[in-house]
């Protein structure tokens, strides 16, 4: 009963070509109208805030004060975008979001790669090469997913200080890897468990070892789960403010530090249009990755099926 994971394993990889639901009938059936109707209504709920953000970011402040946040701009202006990208000030540095952009890239790329590499190997070890005590470590790891970050702030400062990594990029990459580990490991473990066990056994018979099986058999079959992991990590790390600011120095501060300043400015008039432009600009990188990887996601599933 507890082993449903391996029960479903043989079926998983055999046929993952595409949508599976009950077969659709004619094009304009009542059923189709219902499906598309629902999806369109739901899409409006998801799109409304984006619409408001974009429309607002294109308005001037006088127009915003007039009040209708849904009205399209009467006079389109790109000034808020320019201001958000290159003019908004953080303290004395008035170069907008552009200041932190490359830092965010420098932080996100290694953190995503390292955290996913560690977690995928972990998940693989836990799924296929279970050692004594592995379950206990895994349970504690899952427990770690529930610890509020703030609580770990000072202990990690002390740990990094003792390792001599406090304030460095390496230190920050480690921190992101640590906090990404619980969920990612769970994700990979579940995925690898669901792959057909016969494959693994056949490779063992052929004499392949731990790393051989990982690189030659598991990795090529795991594109979809890597995409999901990447989506999670890119979002989390790109949008992170707290770790970036607590564990590094100003010359490494990510873009969110400037975003935080633009959005959280305690004094002065709130420039909603600049806020919104800054928000969209900051979200652009994860957004692009989503739109690109959304396709990979489906293709990855198809690719997995061919191998199986």
């Amino acid at each position: 009963m507890a082993d449903t994971a391996s029960q479903m394993a043989p079926t998983t990889a055999r046929d993952m070509t595409g949508p599976h639901g009950p077969k659709p009938r004619r094009a304009l059936s009542g059923r189709n109208i219902m499906i598309y109707g629902t999806l369109i209504v739901v899409s409006i709920y998801y799109l409304l805030p984006l619409y408001v953000m974009i429309v607002t970011s294109l308005k001037g402040m006088p127009e915003i004060r007039m009040g209708n946040i849904f009205a399209p701009p009467m006079e389109i202006t790109f000034e808020p975008w320019v201001k958000a990208w290159s003019e908004a000030c953080t303290g004395l540095n008035c170069d907008g979001l552009s200041r932190g952009f490359w830092n965010s890239v420098r932080i996100t790329v290694p953190s995503v790669i390292v955290s996913i590499a560690i977690a995928s190997v972990n998940g693989y070890a836990l799924a296929n090469w279970k050692f004594k005590g592995a379950d206990i470590f895994f349970t504690i790891l899952i427990f770690g997913a529930f610890i509020p970050y703030q609580v770990m702030l000072y202990p990690i400062v002390i740990l990094l200080r003792e390792m001599g990594l406090y304030g460095s990029l390496t230190g920050l990459v480690i921190v992101h890897s640590i906090f990404g580990m619980p969920i990612l490991t769970l994700l990979f473990r579940n995925y690898f468990t669901s792959l057909p066990e016969e494959l693994f056994k056949a490779a063992r018979v052929d004499g392949a070892g731990f790393w051989g099986i990982y690189f030659q058999i598991m990795l090529p079959m795991s594109l979809p789960i890597f995409v999901v992991a990447m989506i999670l990590q890119v979002t989390g790390i790109w949008n992170d403010f707290l770790f970036g600011v607590v564990y590094t120095k100003p010359d490494l501060y990510p873009m969110t530090v400037q975003l935080n300043n633009i959005v959280n400015s305690v004094q002065g008039v709130k420039e909603y249009n600049v806020n919104m432009a800054a928000t969209i600009l900051t979200g652009l990188v994860p957004l692009i990755i989503y739109f690109v990887s959304g396709r990979l996601f489906v293709r990855g599933i198809a690719a997995g099926a061919v191998k199986g």
Partner: protein, 296 residues
């Protein structure tokens, strides 16, 4: 599982080496950090951690604080609604997208994109949309429905549901994607068989498909639940805990007392209570998940 019988420590050695980062993280960060937190929750640490022990005083104070009680109540309401609704919405949307429809890519992207935005942004946008003076209420009033009232953010009784709307907007897309991945992993033959037997689609979903997707549901549940426990940014951006203290949550209590109030001891006591609650949920789960497997 292993072949031959070398010394126990070296059995499965590669696997153990590969797991070293995990083992270190678990021991030093999660176990070590938790022990550290629990220890200092019995002290009167203020700005810096200090070992001046005061017994259970921090806990006594915690449970006498109205804000903490309100925080817990809010978390229960938010957690329950968010868990049920995001699973429900995520699954239904995934099932709809799995009907061989056109524009699947577009719909999926639309539902997933909010997840790319941080909670700070989500909170800010929804604070705006729900503002009675220029948000949704104003627009609908302007359409002639003058008695329409939808003002969750400035009403203590329902403010947490206003936060829920924003939270679901941000997170349900990811649940949908996970569910979709799960559905795509189901064998086509199952559907064929159920059609041959004349079982209605909803029954097939409920009694055959969902039980087969157990690992996906577990992953999703952990993901949602850990997000709920850590709920903080969204509240700060959307309501700031208000009106009054009506939308406070435990993680915000922890943060505010640790850093704003400079009372680390109180913050640690609150987080220890949070961890305790998580343990109570996780231990039975781990027992079911692993305890059964060894024997079965």
């Amino acid at each position: 599982m292993a072949t031959g019988k070398p010394i126990r420590l070296f059995r499965n050695l590669s696997s153990k080496i590969a797991a070293i980062p995990m083992i270190l993280t678990v021991l030093f960060v999660f176990v070590g950090g938790t022990a550290w937190t629990v220890t200092y929750s019995f002290t009167s640490s203020k700005l810096l951690p200090k070992t001046k022990f005061v017994g259970l005083r921090q806990y006594e104070r915690l449970w006498e604080t109205e804000r903490w009680l309100v925080s817990i109540e809010n978390l229960m309401i938010y957690g329950l609604c968010s868990m049920v609704l995001s699973l429900l919405i995520g699954f239904i949307l995934a099932a709809l997208l799995d009907q061989k429809i056109r524009f699947e890519n577009t719909f999926r992207s639309i539902m997933l994109y909010p997840f790319a935005l941080s909670f700070i942004v989500t909170g800010l946008v929804w604070q705006w949309l729900l503002n009675p003076d220029f948000g949704i209420q104003k627009i609908i009033n302007g359409l002639g429905f003058t008695s329409f009232e939808f003002n969750p953010l400035y009403n203590s009784d329902i403010v947490i549901y206003g936060v829920l709307i924003a939270g679901l907007w941000q997170g349900s897309g990811l649940v949908m994607v996970l569910m979709l991945a799960g559905l795509r992993g189901i064998d086509q033959d199952i559907w064929k068989a159920s059609r041959v037997d004349g079982i209605p689609a909803w029954k097939t979903y409920l009694f055959i498909i969902i039980p087969m997707m157990r690992p996906v549901f577990i992953t999703t549940l952990v993901l949602i639940a850990s997000g709920i426990v850590k709920l903080y940014d969204l509240i700060v951006a959307q309501t700031g805990g208000g009106p009054g203290i009506a939308s406070e949550v435990p993680a915000k209590y922890v943060y505010d007392y640790m850093f704003q109030g400079q009372n680390l001891g109180q913050g640690f006591a609150a987080s220890t209570m949070m961890l305790l609650a998580v343990l109570i949920v996780i231990i039975p789960w781990a027992y079911l998940e692993f305890g059964g497997k060894k024997r079965g």
